[in-house]
């Protein structure tokens, strides 16, 4: 196999070329798209989704899907909002710890129900999606957390920077992405997650504790959704129980799937997910540039999910054919 062949077999190549095509198309139609401002907009749009996508990617590689993350985000955000109201001097690190803990607990609850009772994760998280959303309303009493409730040092977290005028929130997300990459590619745990996803029975026979791995994935997914709750409060400056995080799970799932993570488990990469989320961010910014009204955004995301799913399935068909062909 030549180097060129190997290069063509990299799964992320497809999504990378789509990004290039979209960027070139958008900049031909309107050169404003290539300005620093619009890239700043792209990079500011993605940290939230990027952080959540890392957890979701692990869950999907492990052959599950978690659709309750939007509600976990809202619950963590509302919790930290009330902490800020009563203790405005809470430091950023303390806030991170609290939201991560809240998210972790909620993710683990999902994981425990799924592993203990062996029910499909989408149905369980469809239930907890509503359950957690209801809890958000009960805890907050329907009250919104306003901008003046959130301390200045939290707001400035997403606006100031300590490194080349890159917002701190983005640097934080990139650190989380790098850690995820280290876990998935260079640790035994990561290998075990891939093994569990590609064949749970075989993984069990090989001595991998499938229950523990599944719990880990859901725990991390919940934890990162919780952290995203703090990012939300910092980035948008308000938390509304009825609006915050509604429907964000579908954007995250779209990003993960178009990043080449197979829904049948066992394959996918941090780089692919990152590129997938980047593509969504670029589309988000490119829509107004291309004079497409914002109402089309959801339809386009939906179309992307369906296309990515179909493409993924076609790749699997093709690989099966190649495999049986080589055997014959």
């Amino acid at each position: 196999m030549s180097i060129f062949d190997k290069f063509l077999r990299i799964r992320e190549l497809g999504i990378f070329s789509i990004i290039i095509i979209v960027v070139i198309a958008a900049s031909i139609i309107d050169t404003r798209f290539l300005t620093i401002d619009s890239w700043r907009a792209v990079l500011l749009a993605i940290p939230l989704i990027l952080v959540m996508a890392m957890g979701q990617m692990m869950v999907i590689i492990c052959r599950h899907v978690d659709i309750s993350i939007g509600s976990i985000l809202a619950f963590a955000a509302i919790t930290i909002g009330f902490v800020f109201i009563h203790y405005p001097e809470t430091s950023l690190w303390m806030a991170l710890l609290i939201t991560a803990f809240v998210g972790l607990i909620m993710g683990l609850i999902n994981g425990i129900i799924i592993t203990r009772f062996n029910v499909h994760s989408i149905i369980v998280t469809l239930g907890t999606l509503s359950l957690y959303r209801g809890l958000v309303f009960i805890v907050s009493g329907g009250r919104q957390i306003d901008r003046n409730d959130i301390p200045v040092h939290i707001i400035s977290f997403s606006q100031t920077s300590f490194f080349f005028s890159i917002p701190a929130i983005l640097i934080f997300s990139v650190i989380i992405v790098l850690i995820s990459h280290l876990i998935m590619r260079h640790s035994v745990l990561g290998r075990e997650i891939y093994a569990t996803g590609s064949n749970p029975e075989a993984a069990h026979l090989k001595g991998i504790n499938v229950t523990k791995i599944t719990l880990f994935c859901f725990g991390v997914c919940g934890m990162l959704a919780g952290v995203a709750g703090l990012f939300y409060a910092s980035r948008f400056g308000y938390v509304n129980p009825g609006v915050t995080g509604v429907g964000i799970e579908f954007i995250v799932i779209a990003g993960v799937i178009i990043g080449g993570t197979s829904i049948t488990g066992g394959s996918g990469s941090v780089l692919g997910t990152f590129l997938g989320i980047l593509l969504l961010g670029i589309i988000n910014v490119a829509l107004p540039v291309l004079n497409i009204p914002g109402e089309f955004q959801k339809a386009i995301y939906g179309l992307i999910i369906v296309l990515a799913l179909s493409l993924d399935q076609l790749i699997i068909f093709r690989m099966k054919k190649l495999r049986t062909g080589s055997n014959a």
Binding site: G127, I263, Q313
Partner: protein, 326 residues
């Protein structure tokens, strides 16, 4: 005593089969929820009130019946709520574009059929797992509805069309009659015809079903299309009830529809379940929801209870099946 009963039951498999069934959980829950609601307010026993509060859920109930069939055949359709919104918006757009009412209704229902067909083709031809595919089409259909209607409410229907929930036969509103008749027909088809038996076989073991000459893919395709058609009907019914069509109607209705099916004791992995259970579960949801409203529990807080009930219903059904039908 309890031990004696369990020994007696284990000696009589037929009796055990009839007594340990998840539908009875639904019936018991229904009785419990009626008692609980009566405690909340003595006026709750008014049959006309319950009938009236049932009408908003008829649209969900109709779809829950089709979803029961789909889940029995081992698939699932989560794009139903988005299909309600999309068909309603298409219906409203077409009507406002000057087509007559009959033609608009037809186009609305047909668009639902197309959506369902699209789901079905991707599931049967490309073999994408339906549970994840319909999560994708859920976003897609809702998105198309939003792109079509943007933030407008499509109204302006003739007065005879509006308010189907205010037409009664006796004290029973017409939607409830539609729902009951539909449940009876589908229940009969499922329990007493060859098509029903085929569905159970497909859900139990699709491979065997295929080898015994059942056209598995064709039947699944038909079911998904049918789900779209009924969503179209539900979309038109909802438009008639609300007098407007919006892209965000029936948001989150997946929960209630899936809840109705799961509470009714349909097995999430396919092959087991029946329409009677779903029918009873429909009334549980109606009585609980109106009971909550009487008790002045906020609509958003009710979500917690419904979500918890969904999870408990699945766990309980799995447990009962693992006990009774090994």
């Amino acid at each position: 005593m309890l031990k004696k009963i369990s020994i007696y039951l284990s000696e009589n498999p037929t009796l055990r089969y009839w007594i340990i069934r998840p539908e009875w959980v639904a019936v018991i829950l229904l009785i419990l929820s009626i008692i609980a609601s009566l405690q909340l307010s003595p006026f709750f026993g008014d049959l006309a009130f319950i009938m009236d509060s049932a009408t908003p859920y008829v649209e969900y109930g109709l779809i829950a019946i089709i979803l029961t069939l789909i889940i029995i055949s081992g698939e699932i359709d989560l794009s139903i709520a988005s299909m309600i919104a999309l068909t309603a918006v298409i219906f409203g757009t077409v009507y406002n574009a000057g087509f007559g009412m009959p033609l608009s209704v037809l186009i609305g229902v047909l668009s639902g059929a197309l959506c369902g067909l699209f789901n079905g083709i991707l599931v049967t031809k490309l073999k994408i797992p339906s549970i994840i595919l319909t999560i994708g089409t859920l976003t897609l259909y809702r998105g198309i509805a939003q792109a079509l209607a943007s933030d407008f409410s499509l109204g302006g229907y003739p007065s005879w069309f509006i308010g189907i929930d205010y037409r009664y036969v006796g004290i029973i509103p017409i939607p409830v009659i539609i729902f009951t008749v539909f449940a009876l027909i589908v229940g009969f088809l499922l329990s007493s015809t060859i098509y029903g038996k085929q569905l159970y076989l497909i859900g139990t073991n699709p491979q065997t079903a295929k080898y015994s000459g059942i056209k598995v893919d064709k039947i699944k395709l038909l079911l998904f299309t049918f789900s779209g058609v009924i969503s179209g009907v539900a979309g038109v019914l909802t438009t008639s009830r609300l007098a407007v069509a919006r892209f965000n109607m029936a948001t989150g209705a997946e929960l209630e529809i899936v809840l109705m099916v799961m509470l009714g004791g349909t097995y999430i992995f396919g092959g087991r379940g029946n329409i009677f259970g779903t029918f009873v579960a429909f009334w549980i949801v109606v009585i609980l929801r109106s009971g909550f409203n009487v008790a002045r529990i906020k609509i958003e807080s009710q979500l917690t209870i419904l979500g918890a009930m969904l999870i408990i219903a699945i766990i309980l059904t799995n447990y009962i099946y693992s006990k009774s039908q090994k």
